[in-house]
Amino acid sequence: EEVPFHIILICYLSYVVLILFGYMRDLMRKTGLERNTNAVERDREGYVQLYQSFESFYTRNIYRRIRDAWNMPIASVPGARITIIDRLTPDYNNTFSYPGTKTEAINMGSYNYLGFAENTGPIIENVNNTIDQYIVGVGTTRHELGTTEAISQLETLTARYLGVESSVVFGMGFGTNATNIHTIVGKGCLVLSDELNHASLILGCRLSRATVRTFRHNDMRDLERKLREQLVLGQPRTHREWKKVIIIVEGIYSMEGSIIDLPELIRIKKKYKCYVYLDEAHSIGAIGPHGRGVCDYYGCDPNDIDILMGTFTKSFGAAGGYLAGKKSLIDHIRVHSYGDAYACAMAPLVATQISSVMTTLMGEDGTNQGQQRIKQLARNTRYFRRKLNQLGFILYGNDDSPVVPLMLYFLPKIPAVIRMAYKEGIGFIGAGFPATSLTTGRVRFCISASHTREMLDKSIEFMDEIGDKLEIKYSARRRS
């Protein structure tokens, strides 16, 4: 739903006010009118200017004013409830001090879709046993001695979980994209990338030196048009035909809450005989009746996707990422990946955590806890979205997506909502420029299977109350 036009105009005005005062403060700091608390070593000569001061203009003059609402230190697992360490600031967020108190809050911001971010239960027992059996981490790469039995088991289990031939795991989700795309594409290849793809995909494509063309977010018509255009044009300048064409998309977009239109994408892939790289960082475990991600959600065959990628951070209460697909492809990646050559291998206890969660989700642990959590998450998501829609908020994304962006548009409204929620004992996450465009600031809820109905209702009541106070119920739709 588009926001009324006048809201956008006033939004730009609010940025003009911030920029004017930002320049005024810079002038005051430069002329010594205001004491500069940013740089401590101001009196020493010869310090080269590391970065252009303009590049940190936004951080210095806009983000600093609201940064108490971000990066709050926590003192517990990021579960359904979270313990936040309180901070005080005597000088408008230039410096923080800790009074030593903590705040218990409902956690509506962490990626903990299935609620496995726990420090009790059978899974933790397995992890503890692994620590006794192995050491805590391996300080070496996969190409040397980093491959432990826990990791081999995890790779076999991941391939079975996804229903493909083989898989390889890495110790970091971001690194899985950044250090492997170059093994798949290179110069003379064409990458069609969604305009809202994650920074790790953008970095991986840039490192691969392939030609990258972006298409409008989740718009398969625009994708097909761009694909046809590029296939006809060929490579820039020489117009030689492309060596390889690959489409890179995500399963769930964490800023938009949208779910990829997978059946349409597979149709395009088969029609133009190109490859698909599907990043399921947020969707693996979170959607689909069996928690297998968007393929499961749409009932598509995972073997139609050439490269399946995903992370274990959001639904498995762990860290790291995987690539899965044909065995020949995975063997090629194992040999040529930067991640396997330079990065430390995944810690065995993290691999055990993931294997245990995966076994639970597959129902092989003798309980149907995995299924219950998947169903609970789907119920919580639909309930929460429907309630917020009824209250008149503008939400982005698909009704089944556990990422629920609620649009605030104005940058100042984001910290206002977060601070007021914090007082009420609810933890929210906000996202504004440059993570979103100038006029689409938002608060983003991440629903979890471990949220109880009371927690969701408390958040909804709170949003209802401040929705009127801050005038953020922008939806013009008729409310049921």
Binding site: E2, F5, I8, L9, Y12, L13, V16, Y51, Q52, F54, E55, S56, F57, Y58, T59, A199, I202, L203, R206, F433, P434, S437, L438, T439
Partner: protein, 130 residues
């Protein structure tokens, strides 16, 4: 710059600037128009053609750090609608100013120089020229 509402906001911004100047009772209409034109062109020149890089850390390993804002628009593709809009606005403002200053020669020279200041850097021949 090509997102929804940006162009209208830009026009409103110029209008607000003009009304703010017009509210000084001791300034004549001609002076106000010339001031509007000159201030608009100076601000445009600084923001589009002097400042380089982005006001936040962009994740592209410093690729655009040496490019002005004008060179970064639409990844450097020339004659896009945004570029045309930003080229036409100073010209329209110049015509309006010339009209309201009754083509007085002093105002004309000042406004014409201010117009050149923002038109020349926009020519494709000056892309990435230092």
């Amino acid at each position: 710059l090509n997102s929804r509402g940006m162009w209208l906001s830009y026009a409103c911004g110029v209008l607000v600037l003009h009304l703010a100047l017009l509210s000084f009772p001791f300034l004549s209409v001609a002076t106000v128009w010339t001031l509007t034109n000159v201030i608009h062109n100076l601000v445009m020149f600084v923001f589009l053609h002097v400042l380089k890089g982005t006001p936040w850390e962009s994740g592209d390993q410093g690729k655009v750090r040496k490019l002005t804002h004008w060179e970064q628009i639409d990844d450097g593709i020339q004659f896009t609608s945004t570029r045309k809009f930003l080229t036409v606005v100073p010209i329209i403002l110049f015509f309006l100013t010339s009209f309201y200053t009754k083509y007085d020669s002093f105002h004309f020279v000042v406004n014409f120089i201010a117009l050149l200041l923002v038109l020349l850097p926009k020519l494709p021949q000056f892309h990435c020229v230092r």
